[in-house]
């Protein structure tokens, strides 16, 4: 279990050390994520074959924090650490000229939060990790905060995901109050309407994080962040969190919710596929593609096969991170990610292009690369599900669109003459890129993974103890769609391909007013309402304050006139008495003799009375 804790503590300690030491950030981050990788691999070895370890940490009363390692979470932990490690390797090169302390501390903390989310055994810890990731994604997307538009993009991503997070909060509340425990595995057998409500709310949270329609807009805005951040965000962490949430809770979901999940996933795969085809910027195309691929995973969950979703999640992590890393190299070479500036960039950097193309073909589902196996598993699961009439067309269209936009991206990168880059004029050869060695190493490792993960699908299924759906006929259909879509995307311009759909797709299908209508306006309205409430509460508080001031004044007056007056009167009385006693001390001998005589007489009278009474 300590090894499993290493996966969280390693990057966490690295982040803390980076912030404290403030130098050697890349080495520390690599060390931290390397530790996490080591811990995750050993944990996987120990639980391989169906073991289950759990640890309980002290937490809230009656809601202890727990870690749980089963084959599924161990595999996910391994893939998170593999991707974050290689993205870190790449980032060492990418951030050669940036503020490395801020960058690597954020990235390492981000990786730690994701690991915590993956192996969390209870809802409280999961919520905490979820929140930390939301916050860090804001920081990392806004890394270049001094550039115009970046702050807005970060805020938008934060607001979108925060709005959807409400779903998770309410769902967790429902689950805990129904089952009386925060242990995730024990809350999953809640049935009836509670399961439907919780399932739909979880879907809302997952749709926000995984950028599903209609909440997909923030993901493309998130491209304002550094490219390694995008690579990590899209492949293994933030966006994956939504899919992982649904995969882990899939036993909970009743069939009605599964239908909604599948439909939402299918629609997203289609809609963001169209957006990707129309996109004019490489990174934004990849972002739309991410939405679309997570749509596939939701489709698989909806079809009742979370195992297919898991396989696609892992394959997608490798493919999408290598695509982003390749895009980052082109971006560094040309100083931009717009296709207009990237024309022919692939021909200049053939090795980078080879890695990019390998991952792209894998994404499109060309055998024998990784994406072929995972997409085949999803298609087979969809065709085996009871809702095949609804889900299958969406899945097939999504597959086709994937091939089309991959073909388009490859074609745009390959064709066209050498372009302009920072510090060089058009027509010169490819210039050197700072940190190319590190970037190449990260890219090569992940691209190799993207190519070869297909071999791991069989052992993986054995490890998880489940059967991955397969269907030769449907696999053939997938290949046909992929091979048909690729040349279509390569040769036919997007405008002609999409026809009247091109305009709306390019604008990201902003129905319902887009960001403003869906999130900003309700949030602002709620904020105004809360502000009014706040003001009235403030007024009440002020009133209470004034009233207590008045009471204090009154008691002060009472103090002055009452107690103080009493004390003063006592003092005055004593002084008067003293003054009067002083007049007795006249110094006249005969007066004092008189007093003595009177005193003696009084004493005598006393004695006489005593004798008479008989004392």
């Amino acid at each position: 279990m300590t090894l499993a804790a290493l996966t969280i503590l390693g990057p966490l300690a690295a982040a803390a050390l980076i912030l404290l030491v403030r130098r050697g950030a890349p080495a520390l981050a690599l060390l931290g994520t390397g530790t996490a990788l080591f811990g995750a691999l050993f944990t996987l070895v120990r639980v391989a074959g169906g073991g289950r370890y759990s640890a309980t940490l002290p937490g809230l009363p009656d809601l202890p924090l727990g870690l749980v390692v089963e084959p599924l979470t161990a595999v996910l932990a391994v893939f998170v650490s593999v991707v974050s490690f290689f993205v870190m390797v790449y980032a060492v090169g990418y951030t050669a000229e940036e503020d490395r302390v801020r960058f690597f501390a954020g990235m390492a903390f981000f990786a730690a939060a994701m690991q915590a989310l993956v192996i969390a055994g209870d809802w409280v810890l999961l919520l905490a990790a979820w929140e930390v990731m939301g916050f860090l994604s804001f920081l990392l997307i806004g890394f270049y905060y001094e550039r115009p538009g970046v702050g807005a993009a970060a805020t938008r991503a934060f607001l979108y995901t925060r709005t959807a997070d409400l779903g998770l909060y309410v769902a967790v509340f429902v689950l805990i109050s129904r089952s009386g425990t925060s242990d995730i595995s024990r809350t999953l057998d809640v049935g009836g309407p509670a399961a439907v409500a919780a399932g739909l709310l979880l879907l809302l949270a997952a749709a926000g994080k995984s950028a599903q329609t209609p909440l997909q807009g923030w993901l493309q805005g998130a491209m304002a962040g550094p490219t390694p951040v995008s690579a990590l965000l899209h492949s293994a962490t933030l966006v994956a969190a939504g899919a992982i949430l649904l995969i882990r809770t899939s036993p909970l979901l009743p069939s009605t919710v599964l239908l909604v999940v599948g439909t939402l996933g299918g629609v997203t795969a289609l809609v963001s596929g169209l957006i990707a085809v129309a996109e004019g910027d490489l990174k934004r195309l990849l972002a739309a593609s991410t939405s679309s691929q997570y749509g596939f995973m939701l489709l698989a969950v909806g079809a009742g096969s979370p195992i297919a979703a898991t396989v696609h999640l892992i394959a997608h992590a490798a493919m999408k991170s290598s695509l982003f890393l390749g895009a980052g190299v082109f971006q560094r070479a040309r100083g931009s990610t717009a296709f207009a500036d990237l024309r022919g960039a692939g021909r200049e950097r053939r090795w980078t292009f080879a890695g990019f193309a390998l991952a792209g073909l894998a994404l499109a589902g060309v055998p024998p690369l990784a994406g072929f196996f995972s997409k085949d598993a999803i298609l087979a699961a969809v065709f085996a599900s009871p809702y095949v009439w609804l889900l299958a067309p969406l899945a097939l269209a999504g597959t086709f669109l994937t091939a089309v936009y991959v073909g388009r991206a490859l074609g745009l990168l390959w064709r066209g003459g050498p372009g302009k880059g920072p510090g060089k004029e058009a027509g010169e050869g490819p210039g050197p890129v700072a940190g190319a060695g590190w970037m190449g190493a990260g890219l090569a490792a992940l691209a190799a993974l993207a190519a070869t993960l297909g071999l791991a699908v069989g052992p993986l299924a054995g490890l998880l103890g489940e059967e991955i759906p397969e269907d030769l006929l449907i696999a053939g259909l997938g290949i046909v769609l992929a091979l048909g879509g690729l040349p279509l995307g390569w040769f036919v311009p997007a405008g002609r391909l999409l026809g009247p759909l091109h305009g709306p797709a390019e604008r990201g299908f902003r129905f319902g007013g887009g960001f403003d209508g869906l999130v900003a306006r309700p949030v602002m309205a709620a904020a105004y309402a809360l502000d009014t409430l706040d003001r009235s509460i403030h007024a009440v508080v002020l009133g209470v304050g004034r009233a207590s001031l008045a009471v204090a004044d009154a008691s002060r007056v009472a103090d002055e006139r009452g107690i103080d007056g009493l004390i003063r009167a006592l003092v005055r009385g004593t002084r008067d008495l003293g003054g009067r006693a002083r007049t007795l001390q006249s110094g006249l001998v005969h007066k004092e003799l008189l007093l003595a005589a009177v005193g003696g007489a009084v004493m005598l009278a006393f004695l006489a009375v005593g004798v008479v009474v008989g004392l």
Partner: protein
Amino acid sequence: MMALYVALAVGAVMFGIGLYGTLSQTNLVMIMMGVEVMLGGALVNLVAFWRFLHPTAYPGQTFFLIIMTVMALDMAVGFGVGTARFRSRGSVESEEARELKG
């Protein structure tokens, strides 16, 4: 027993006259005379009690002698103060002596 009451009455009258003299006079010498008369009254009482109640016990006589001695010392001190006062202020009137005023 009549003799005892007569003696006690004489002593009481003497004490009363002495007290009156002490309180009414302002001259230091007259005051001291009053005090002596009061003491004399007390001595008459003492002697009467001894003679008529305990004629065989001698502590009564001893007590008498001690009081006589005290009276003599009293006089000596009183006249000393009076002489000193007269020499320094030229008067022994107690109304004029206010130095002890508090």
